[in-house]
């Protein structure tokens, strides 16, 4: 991350914040003219914390994100709060954050922009850029990329009814509001009561809540309502807070204007204030040593072709397929079967041998296909390791599945990997007794939590058709197990690899191997 910051710094010094020369008067997404009036720099989360309203806005988004992550994957995105791009001009400022999504949205580079509206609050926008991979790398390296015709700024409405209801808390007690077609009325309800205790004076706590109520007659008549939030004109009878998502695909020039602040009184077509931002991309870096292991292993004796061939056999309804590469470069095909049985590689004490690569498929079984490695794949790899059947420093496991997933797995920390499965070690050292007990209990508990599927509700399940869900669960498992394993996502040609890991907020990070 620091490397990325260093790379970005030169670019940030030349940031483009001009009041003039824009395709639109109020939106400046990537101007190439430096404004003498403005000041822009990267800030850290520590500095961000000095902006309580910005933190409050982010907390609101994070809360929504957690809910979405659980209930609706479509809304899932991650706001990176470790490095923020700050623009300050007079009493106005904006904050630009990188955003990442786990799912298919990511053809577009998205940034979250919080734009300070003096005397009001932050308004939230989504800046979108259609960038090629080359352009992303240039931006990450601090070079200017012309994003004209590749950029747009969208209003990011508040999209959680609960948040909107919270923000509407100042409405009068008799005020009925509508959120996503449901009418709510604010009222005080008894939160805690002590009145049931004899002799105790009646004492209750009340809290203000919005509860669903029948919509008033005539509420569908536009003249009855005041329009969408924010903004909108007309008579104020019942505010409507619609929460469309995906967010409106209309550019900001076509969005309902805020009315008022910028001189407009209705749908002015302008944002509240000028918005200054610039594209920010985050290119994570994969672990070079583990990436090299994969490349070297697959390059050895053209083993990549073996793995590609296996990827073409995943649709077999009965059999899994597999192959191994030993340390002498011998390719060893594994006999196909409902489960892959790995032969012990030939070796002698003078010429110890072990697998460098063990590759297999998860076939299109009627019982379902697990789109990631199973706990028993890992357990048996550990057993091979304890029995010296794999070459620990260079070992790579690959997997192709009938669900279209392709992975490579490396052991980045052999000690951790062995510790997790230590109960398989067969150690006769009395000093290892406690370690064996702890390992068995820990491994069985974590296996139970993530993989046990007699009820069909496992976190990592064959029946889950959402590969990203399964991957996220698998990464959570790897994190909790702390077993020193790195996972890489790839395609059927096994040419390019992205390390996959979990960010602190639970979203998936993809880091490209160099």
């Amino acid at each position: 991350m620091k490397k990325t910051l260093k790379k970005l710094q030169p670019a940030l010094l030349v940031v483009l914040l001009a009041f003039t020369c824009c395709q639109q008067d109020d939106v400046h997404m990537n101007d190439n003219n430096t404004s003498a009036k403005g000041n822009s720099r990267m800030i850290t989360y520590e500095e961000l914390k000095a902006m309580p309203k910005a933190i409050s806005m982010l907390e609101s988004l994070k809360e929504q994100r957690r809910k979405k992550s659980v209930y609706n994957e479509r809304y899932d995105f991650t706001v990176d709060t470790t490095e923020i791009f700050l623009v300050e001009i007079g009493d106005y400022h904006s904050l630009t954050f990188t955003i990442s999504r786990d799912s298919a949205y990511t053809d577009v580079t998205e940034n979250l922009v919080l734009n300070w509206e003096p005397y009001e609050d932050y308004k939230t926008y989504m800046a979108e850029y259609m960038l090629t991979e080359e352009e992303k790398e240039k931006i990450a390296d601090g070079e200017y990329v012309d994003t004209k015709d590749k950029e747009r700024l969208l209003v990011l409405p508040e999209f959680s009814p609960s948040t909107i209801l919270k923000s509407a808390g100042g409405a009068g007690e008799d005020q009925i509001i509508m959120v996503d077609g449901i009418c709510y009325k604010g009222m005080w309800v008894r939160d805690e009561s002590y009145s049931g205790i004899p002799g105790q004076i009646e004492k209750s706590k009340f809290k203000w809540v919005y509860l669903p109520v029948p919509c008033p007659e005539g509420h569908l008549d536009p003249s009855y309502t005041e329009g969408n939030h924010p903004g909108g004109g007309g008579p104020t009878n019942m505010p409507i807070f619609n929460t469309p998502y995906p967010i409106s695909q209309e550019p900001i020039t076509n969005m309902p204007g805020p009315g008022g602040y910028n001189g407009g009184t209705g749908n002015s077509g302008s944002p509240y204030n000028p918005i200054y931002t610039k594209p920010r991309v985050e290119i994570a870096i994969a672990h070079p040593r583990e990436c090299k292991k994969i490349k070297d292993a697959l390059d050895s004796n053209n083993f990549r072709q073996e793995v590609v061939d296996l990827a073409g056999k995943v649709n077999d309804p009965v059999n899994e397929y597999g192959a191994g590469l030993d340390r002498f470069g011998n390719v060893i095909p594994f006999p196909p079967g409902p489960e892959i049985q790995v032969p012990i590689p030939f070796g002698t004490p003078s010429f110890p041998n072990g697998y460098i690569v063990v590759s297999h498929t998860h076939n299109n079984s009627i019982a379902g296909t697990l789109s990631v490695f199973s706990i028993y794949d890992l357990r048996n790899i550990a057993q091979f390791l304890f029995d010296n059947h794999i070459n620990d420093g260079t070992f790579v496991a690959t997997l192709s599945t009938a669900k279209g997933t392709h992975y490579a797995l490396t052991i980045n920390n052999v000690t951790k990997f062995k510790d997790f499965f230590f109960y398989l070690s067969g150690s006769t050292n009395p000093a290892d007794a406690q370690k064996i007990l702890i390992s068995a209990k820990n491994a069985t508990s974590i296996s139970k939590k993530y993989f046990e599927n007699t009820t069909g509700n496992a976190i990592i399940s064959e029946s889950d058709t959402n590969n990203m869900n399964v991957l996220r669960g698998f990464l959570e498992f790897l994190n909790e197990a702390n077993m020193g394993v790195s996972l890489f996502k790839t395609q059927a040609n096994f040419q390019n690899f992205e390390q996959v890991s979990l960010k602190r907020d639970g979203s998936i990070q993809f880091s490209t191997c160099p």
Binding site: P198, V358, T428, A433, K441, S445, T454
Partner: protein, 176 residues
């Protein structure tokens, strides 16, 4: 003083509430004994499969053994016992080989079969499910499945029973 009397009055008035809470808590503790906890049997001819289950935190843990019995039900010999020494030179015994969680009337989790002996493989592993069946006598449906994954060639199949009905014979836990 008036004020003090008032507080005392309140305290006395609250006493039944506190006492009620305490007696309620005790009653709950007494009723929390899991029906899974105890010793379970499955007999096939002169072989008796004995499973011992106990609760530890939120988990239901267990061990099993297979013994032979005579016509009077007296144990003649032990064929295997999952709670054996970890290995011949070891000072310690195997940790629980059954690790499940109870949801309603079903306990599910993972098990180890440490009764096999192949190469250096000391155990096989898989999923286990114990469904409560009938209450008089108390029975559970023991069903296990070997975990699916790559494995060493010619690895043996499970040695312990796969699909049986166990009958509860005691609430006591005897691990010997």
């Amino acid at each position: 003083m008036q004020h003090k009397r008032h507080i005392t009055g309140i305290l006395f008035s609250l006493l039944p509430v506190f006492l009620g809470s305490v007696s309620q808590a005790k009653a709950q503790q007494l009723s929390v004994v899991s029906p899974y906890q105890g010793t379970w049997h499955y007999q096939n001819g002169n072989e008796l499969f004995i499973v011992t289950l106990w609760k530890e935190g939120d988990s239901l843990l267990g061990h099993y053994k297979m013994v032979t019995i005579n016509s009077s039900g007296v144990i003649i010999s032990t064929l295997y016992n999952s709670r054996k020494l970890y290995n011949a030179n070891s000072q310690i015994k195997w940790p629980p080989v059954i690790n499940t969680s109870i949801v309603d009337f079903s306990a599910s989790g993972v098990f180890l079969d440490n009764t096999i002996n192949y190469e250096n493989v000391s155990s096989l592993a898989g999923d286990i499910r114990l469904d409560m069946q009938q209450t008089s006598p108390l029975t559970i449906h023991w069903k296990i499945k070997k975990g699916k994954g790559i494995r060493l060639i010619n690895e043996p199949e499970l040695n312990i029973p796969i699909d049986i009905i166990l009958t509860k014979v005691s609430n006591e836990i005897d691990l010997e």
